[in-house]
């Protein structure tokens, strides 16, 4: 009898002392990445910046104190003579060269900037990912014919990559004419080969892994191997790149607008166009350039911070 209780005692005591790690059961890598992201300062700062920017872009037109295109204070500004109006109670950010309220223009311009960034990133992501999946799948499981197809596709993306992005954008603009659509397509097209190469490279790396070999050994069909085994494990770098490329897209779109390839109607506020307009008066009124420039930089910074934080959160080497 005593031995029996003694045995129960020691089992209980052992169970009590064992350091169980059962709390982490059933957490997929995506969920763990999200958990790491939530505890990253960089991600939080980035996300806050992006959130503010998105909110402003959406509600900007409603909260703007004045009509952004109205030259309400036309009589107070004499750009030719170097007379400008800076910050004041009425106009928080001052007036531009045509007597329009800068603050309202910034708010409304945010929407255009966000639109250009998101649409052009999506153009690059969707087309690039499709090409990348095709190429990656062909290279990993397509046999000799697949490898040849992959070679051809990759040579084409190489050519696209070797073109300077601005030159490409200028040529597209020359064909399609000056418009916001041109800017979005130009910026998006430049991203296509980047996404394509990245996804293909990632798929190629995963395609050589043991679990893909194991799936083949199991007799899983090729299409299914690509979709359930290779692709989900290849997405991390692409997701990071998509976030980071929102930042570059915004900057590039601004650059193209600045060069005059964007919306031909200068009355429609857009940060790149505003920057371009401010250039002429930079000596007299630098603040006119500073507002849109700072807006672009902070937004781009937000996306970059979030992208970098995601890279860290998704990196399997830091898992633990």
């Amino acid at each position: 009898m005593t031995t029996l209780t003694k045995k129960a005692d020691k089992v209980d005591r052992l169970a009590e002392l064992m350091q169980t790690s059962e709390s982490t059961t059933g957490a997929s890598l995506w969920r763990e990445a999200a958990r790491r992201l939530r505890s990253s300062k960089m991600a939080i700062i980035g996300a806050v910046i992006i959130a503010v920017f998105v909110v402003l872009a959406v509600i900007g037109p409603w909260i703007a104190p004045y009509t952004p295109t109205a030259q309400t204070w036309r009589g107070e500004v004499f750009a030719n003579q170097g007379r400008f109006v800076g910050m004041r109670g009425e106009n928080w950010f001052g007036l531009d060269h045509l007597g329009r309220d800068m603050f309202s223009r910034m708010l409304v311009g945010a929407r255009q900037t966000l639109l250009v960034g998101v649409v052009s990133m999506l153009i690059g992501l969707v087309i690039g990912a499709l090409i990348g999946v095709l190429s990656g799948a062909a290279a990993t499981l397509g046999g000799p014919m697949g490898r040849r197809l992959d070679t051809v596709i990759m040579r084409i993306t190489d050519i696209m990559l070797s073109l300077p992005s601005l030159l490409l954008a200028v040529s597209i603009a020359a064909v399609l004419g000056q418009s916001l659509t041109t800017v979005m397509i130009a910026v998006g097209v430049v991203q296509i080969p980047i996404f394509a190469r990245m996804l293909r490279g990632s798929m190629l790396a995963q395609g050589g892994s043991d679990y893909v070999l194991a799936a083949r050994a199991l007799g899983v069909r090729r299409n299914r191997i690509v979709l359930t085994q290779i692709l989900p494990n290849s997405l991390s770098p692409v997701i990071v790149q998509a976030t980071l490329s929102l930042a570059t897209a915004i900057i590039e779109a601004a650059a193209l607008s600045y060069l005059g390839l964007g919306n031909p109607d200068p009355a429609v506020p857009e940060w790149g166009v505003m920057l371009s307009q401010a250039q002429r008066f930079f000596d007299n009124e630098p603040m006119m350039a500073v507002y849109p420039a700072v807006g672009i930089i902070i937004t781009a910074l937000g996306f970059t911070l979030l992208g970098e934080a995601m890279r860290e959160a998704l990196d399997p080497k830091l898992r633990g």
């Binding site: 052992l14 002392l17 064992m18 350091q19």
Partner: protein, 334 residues
């Protein structure tokens, strides 16, 4: 006095936002000149961290090192980064498991060897080159003059490990630490490398601290063996004593779970149950208790001490050691 005397070495990793984890938990051992001392254990037992701590190769941040490691009168753990760097290469040297990643891939072998000779022995130009060729020759690399011009990737795994040993012994170190030096190699190459290490110890009187998981390697090479489990030495003995009378249930179980070449086919092995993750903190009791067949309530009350239940010098950290059955004392009639 021993050449190296490690006393209560402990290494704790302190990462922000995580619980501190103690990798080495009060390990003590001595290494004499011309002696081979083994640190044996499975992954996570703290054997590699011990060697890194001795060599001053642990990251500066997020690590807490305690205890003493006296090498010829100086405490290695108290030396500054510049001093310990000077000690490495001159008096201490280390070889690693993966020879390829320990060599600089873009620099020829010859340059890597002569660099060491230049820095620690002041040899220059032709003299250094000649000495380097001799070193490669010494560790059994054929055609050393040609090999000196080659890059690490041009050498085979065994040759790379030889090159690494050549670099380690370039300044005739008094203590050589080998961390799983043959794990990445094939058995026939492993035999060559072990033979080379034995020769170094016999002829040069180098002290060798051998870190390995392979009990076979230990049996052929080490004079003294420390079996580590979860950061603590659980059994320390001379190699003959240890293999003849493994007394800690872990060491005993480990030897029993290895497939033996001379056992007939089909005889089941006696594995140790569970995994290294099934443990309790040493402060609460014996970390091995969850995997032990003989644990008692006593095993779960505080850290077991090292005792010598068999012979002097054979230390065992266990309250229920594996001992030959004691003949029952003649019953005394009441």
């Amino acid at each position: 006095m021993p050449l190296l005397s490690v006393d209560e070495l402990s290494v704790t990793f302190t990462a922000k936002g995580r619980k501190d984890s103690t990798a080495v938990d009060g390990v003590s051992f001595d290494v004499d000149q011309g002696q081979v001392v083994g640190l044996v254990g499975e992954s996570g037992c703290g054997k590699s961290v011990t060697s890194l701590a001795l060599m001053g190769l642990l990251p500066a941040k997020g690590v807490r090192v305690g205890g003493r490691a006296e090498f010829d009168g100086t405490d290695l753990l108290k030396l500054g980064p510049a001093k310990i760097r000077d000690m490495r290469g001159r008096h201490l040297a280390m070889i690693f498991q993966d020879p390829l990643s320990s060599l600089n891939p873009v620099v020829p072998i010859g340059v890597q060897v002569t660099e060491i000779l230049q820095r620690h022995r002041g040899l220059k130009g032709e003299a250094a080159r000649k000495e380097a060729a001799q070193l490669l020759d010494r560790v059994g690399i054929p055609d050393p003059a040609r090999r000196l011009k080659e890059y690490p990737h041009q050498l085979s795994g065994g040759m790379r490990q030889r090159a690494l040993i050549a670099m380690a012994v370039a300044c005739a170190p008094r203590l050589l630490i080998a961390d799983e030096p043959t794990t990445a190699l094939d058995v026939t190459i492993q035999a060559q490398i072990l033979e080379l290490l034995k020769e170094l110890v016999d002829q040069e009187g180098t002290a060798l601290l051998m870190i390995t998981h392979d009990l076979g390697v230990v049996a052929g090479l080490c004079d003294e063996v420390n079996v580590l489990y979860a950061g603590k030495a659980v059994e320390t003995a001379g190699r003959r004593e240890l293999f003849a009378h493994p007394t800690h249930p872990y060491a005993h179980g480990l030897l029993g779970s290895i497939p033996r070449l001379d056992a007939p086919r089909g005889e089941p092995l006696n594995p140790i149950r569970g995994s290294i993750n099934d443990k309790i903190a040493w402060a609460d009791g014996c970390a091995f208790a969850p995997r032990c067949d003989h644990y008692t309530l006593e095993c779960l009350t505080g850290t077991p001490e090292l005792t010598e239940p068999r012979t002097a010098g054979h230390q065992v950290r266990c309250v229920n050691p594996v001992l030959p059955p004691v003949r029952p004392a003649a019953e005394v009639p009441a």
